[in-house]
């Protein structure tokens, strides 16, 4: 049995235990601005996978290349070096016609609303619906529902002139969403909005991600909406400095907390542990641990369930059944003894596994921490 992958648990590749298809796949992407002597590199060998239904927030100081990356993903700039796949299409060296078609699958929300002053809110949104070839009545119903949802129900047939800045931005957001794009690219979508309407917009984003499987990549400095991110990508000087699947990491941390030995760890340490875990997959009936083998890994069940079997002479007896969020394999690592039971997957399951060395190191930190705490408390008395 070796279903161990090199995919880190916190990569977000498995969301709720499912390996999702990649919407955006960036590999070895470089980008340059200017020509000749003025040629300046803006992106350096970037790699990034964004999967279906993920909400990705890109952060970083201005000039770090996050907007450049966003425009490259949005097909608005030409990819010249490296590989960039969007919705299964390679953009490096892509045909003009293919790019025009691909753009119709995308939804753009820009910092400026860019609405036609001559068209009403409805007509502005309809410009996107028409392009998608939606039936007129379907489109009309959807536009009205969307604008109403965004708090513009009373102003559907107003021209931008008679709308406030925030209202205009919400019309632009409706325009970016009306054709149910598979990928939404947004630049500071909530910058012009107040707390409440900003929240409404990100809630809408979340619904689209969950229900329609829409992928959202957002550049934002708005701390109020960081909590909706499944993944936060931080860019500095043209490099992706960190790429953390925050949602999945917090799920793992929740699970780890359920393990008594880890219960006292600080959130930071838990996140570090999560980072060290690797993804394991198992088919139904596959044995993950065989009784009597030396122990080398600690397992957390991300999805699926397993049977715990203990050999009693020639026959083996099922002693327990474990499910999502539960763990196994810790005893052999703590005691350094062989495995005391066999674990067999009941169905297709996904596990996050931690190596023996890492596991031990965590336990030690945990102990130190406890000890320190005890001493601190003692000194206070």
């Amino acid at each position: 049995m070796d279903s161990q992958t090199t995919v880190p648990a916190t990569s977000g590749a498995f969301s709720a235990g499912m390996r999702l298809p990649q919407t955006v796949r960036v590999s070895g992407l470089d980008h340059f601005f200017g020509e000749g002597e003025l040629r300046k590199q803006a992106l350096y060998n970037n790699n990034l996978d964004v999967r279906r239904g993920e909400i990705v927030i890109m952060t970083g100081p201005s000039g770090s290349g996050k907007t450049t990356l966003l425009t490259l993903i949005g097909t608005l700039r030409t990819v010249t070096a490296g590989s960039l796949q969007v919705l299964g299409h390679e953009l490096c060296g892509a045909e003009r016609d293919m790019i025009v078609c691909l753009r119709r699958e995308l939804g753009f929300i820009f910092q400026a609303h860019n609405l036609f002053e001559s068209l009403t809110a409805f007509q502005n949104v309809n410009m996107a619906a028409e392009l998608a070839g939606l039936d007129r009545r379907v489109a009309a119903a959807r536009i009205e529902a969307l604008l109403t949802r965004l708090g513009l129900g009373q102003r559907i047939h107003y021209k931008p002139q008679s709308l406030s800045g925030g209202q205009k931005q919400r019309v632009a957001i409706a325009r970016g969403l009306v054709h149910k794009p598979k990928l939404i690219l947004a630049d500071e979508p909530t910058a012009a909005l107040d707390e409440q309407s900003g929240r409404e917009v990100v809630t809408l984003f979340q619904e689209l991600a969950r229900e329609e499987g829409c992928t959202i990549i957002m550049v934002t400095h708005d701390n109020r909406i960081l909590d909706v991110a499944d993944r936060i990508v931080n860019m500095v000087d043209g490099h992706i400095k960190s790429d953390v699947a925050v949602r999945e990491t917090s799920v793992i941390c929740e699970f780890l907390k359920g393990f008594p030995l880890f219960a006292d760890l600080t959130p930071n340490t838990l996140a570090e542990v999560a980072d060290q875990m690797m993804v394991h997959e198992a088919e139904a009936g596959q044995e993950l641990i065989r009784q009597g083998d030396p122990g080398d890994l600690f397992y957390l069940i991300r999805d699926g369930s397993v049977d715990v079997l203990v050999a009693d002479g020639a026959t083996s007896k099922k002693v327990a059944e474990l499910g999502q969020g539960q763990y196994f394999g810790e005893a052999a690592l703590i005691t350094d003894e062989p495995r005391n039971a066999t674990i067999r997957a009941r169905e297709k399951s996904v596990f996050y596994a931690l190596g023996k060395e890492d596991f031990r190191r965590v336990l030690e930190t945990s102990a130190t921490f406890e000890e320190e705490l005890r001493q601190a408390l003692f000194r206070r008395q």
């Binding site: 691909l102 860019n114 001559s118 410009m127 325009r175």
Partner: protein, 397 residues
């Protein structure tokens, strides 16, 4: 993705800014006016060149092959008309005599000769159905007396100020034609053109008296300027013309009315600078319109660059933008054309009154100016569309 069914963006953008629309309409209307003025003058001048032909009766006309324009004094032997009469389908063939260079009309004042001015003298055999103007036939009795003539009331006022007087006053005018006394016994209406400042009509007998030397050493009426041929009812003009061409010698042209007209207009259009001058005028109108239209469309595009870039990012194709601008240009041309035409119409009426020229807005000139306006707007739209295509959606982030 037809524009008609979808959001009418071209129309909305055009009509959104009322002030700009007003400027656009005024500008394009002005260009339309310029072109209409040129076309109107040109047509009026050509029409007056062929007014003489229009005022003749008959379906077929015989002229000397050497006669390149009505004003050219090239004649053919009268014997050709006998040949014409012998052809089947011909109801009659009548000679019309015309004289210009030696036909100088002079007003005698207090016994002293004033300076005279040349005008066209037309001679015909009294009773021949040649002129359409009914006044000629009505007054033909008066022409029987030798030395009498009818004068064109539309003769140039400056040179022939007496032409507009009523007949009884005309009779008192002391006048000399080609050095011989003449009395004007009535008037008719024909009009002037580039070559002729006025017209007289007289009997062939009087004509022979005034211009005895037009045919050297022979009967002055033996050479004819224009042969007017009437076709018998029920005969095809084309067939009769064919027959005449076969019968007659090669020294004459046999024209139908249309061909005669066209040949005359052709001469003034192509062989004189007139056509070129008006062409230049029309071109100037066209260019002025193009510049205005370009400005309007370019300003509209420049003001909406981020919006158009957004449409590009959304996946609107180059074809859509080109169609959008072409539609916008066409709308501009139409909404500029209508007021321009109305104003031109008024101007035509004013000019016709002032100059005496026939300013007619016929279907041909309407079609020509409309097509020119559309072409000018579309051309400038296509020039401006490059700006739109340069909209860079990457600049939006």
């Amino acid at each position: 993705m037809t524009l008609s069914r979808n959001t009418p963006l071209a129309w909305k953008n055009l009509t959104h800014d009322r002030r700009r629309l007003a400027v656009a309409i005024a500008g394009i209307g002005f260009a339309v006016l310029l072109m209409f003025t040129q076309v109107g003058f040109q047509n009026a001048l050509f029409d007056s060149q062929v007014k003489m032909i229009d005022d003749l009766q008959g379906e077929i006309f015989v002229v000397s092959r050497a006669k390149y324009t009505l004003a050219a004094e090239k004649r053919f032997p009268r014997a050709r008309l006998h040949q014409v009469r012998s052809c089947s389908g011909v109801a009659g063939a009548y000679p019309l005599y015309s004289e210009l260079t030696t036909s100088v009309l002079r007003k005698i004042k207090a016994g002293l000769g004033n300076r005279g001015y040349p005008l066209r003298s037309l001679g015909y055999h009294l009773g021949d159905p040649i002129f359409r103007d009914p006044r000629v036939a009505q007054q033909s009795q008066r022409l029987r007396a030798p030395g009498t003539a009818l004068v064109d009331v539309k003769s140039k006022l400056k040179k022939f100020d007496f032409a507009r007087q009523p007949p009884h006053e005309l009779a008192h005018q002391a006048l000399e034609l080609a050095g011989k006394k003449i009395s004007l016994v009535g008037n008719f209406e024909l009009g002037t053109d580039f070559a002729h400042d006025g017209n007289l009509i007289m009997s062939d007998e009087s004509f022979a008296r005034y211009f005895p030397h037009r045919n050297r050493f022979a009967d002055p009426l033996a050479v004819v300027d224009v042969g007017v041929v009437h076709v018998q009812p029920g005969f095809s003009v084309q067939q009769v013309q064919q027959r005449l061409v076969q019968t007659l010698e090669q020294d004459v042209h046999v024209y139908t009315r249309q061909e005669f007209r066209r040949a005359e207009v052709q001469f003034w259009d192509k062989s004189t600078p007139i056509g070129t001058i008006f062409l230049a005028g029309k071109l100037i109108g066209f260019v002025v319109g193009m510049v205005i239209c370009y400005q309007v469309i370019y300003a509209d595009i420049a003001d909406h660059m981020p919006e158009f870039a957004t449409l590009k990012a959304m996946g609107y194709s180059t074809g859509y933008f080109i169609r959008l601008i072409v539609v916008e240009a066409l709308l501009l041309s139409l909404i500029g054309f209508l007021p321009g035409t109305v104003v031109s119409r008024v101007l035509y009426a004013l000019l016709a009154e002032k100059t005496g020229l026939q300013m007619l807005m016929n279907l041909d000139s309407l079609t020509f100016v409309l097509l020119a306006t559309m072409a000018m707007c579309i051309a400038s739209g296509l020039l401006a569309v490059r700006k739109l295509l340069s909209a860079d959606p990457a600049s939006l982030f």
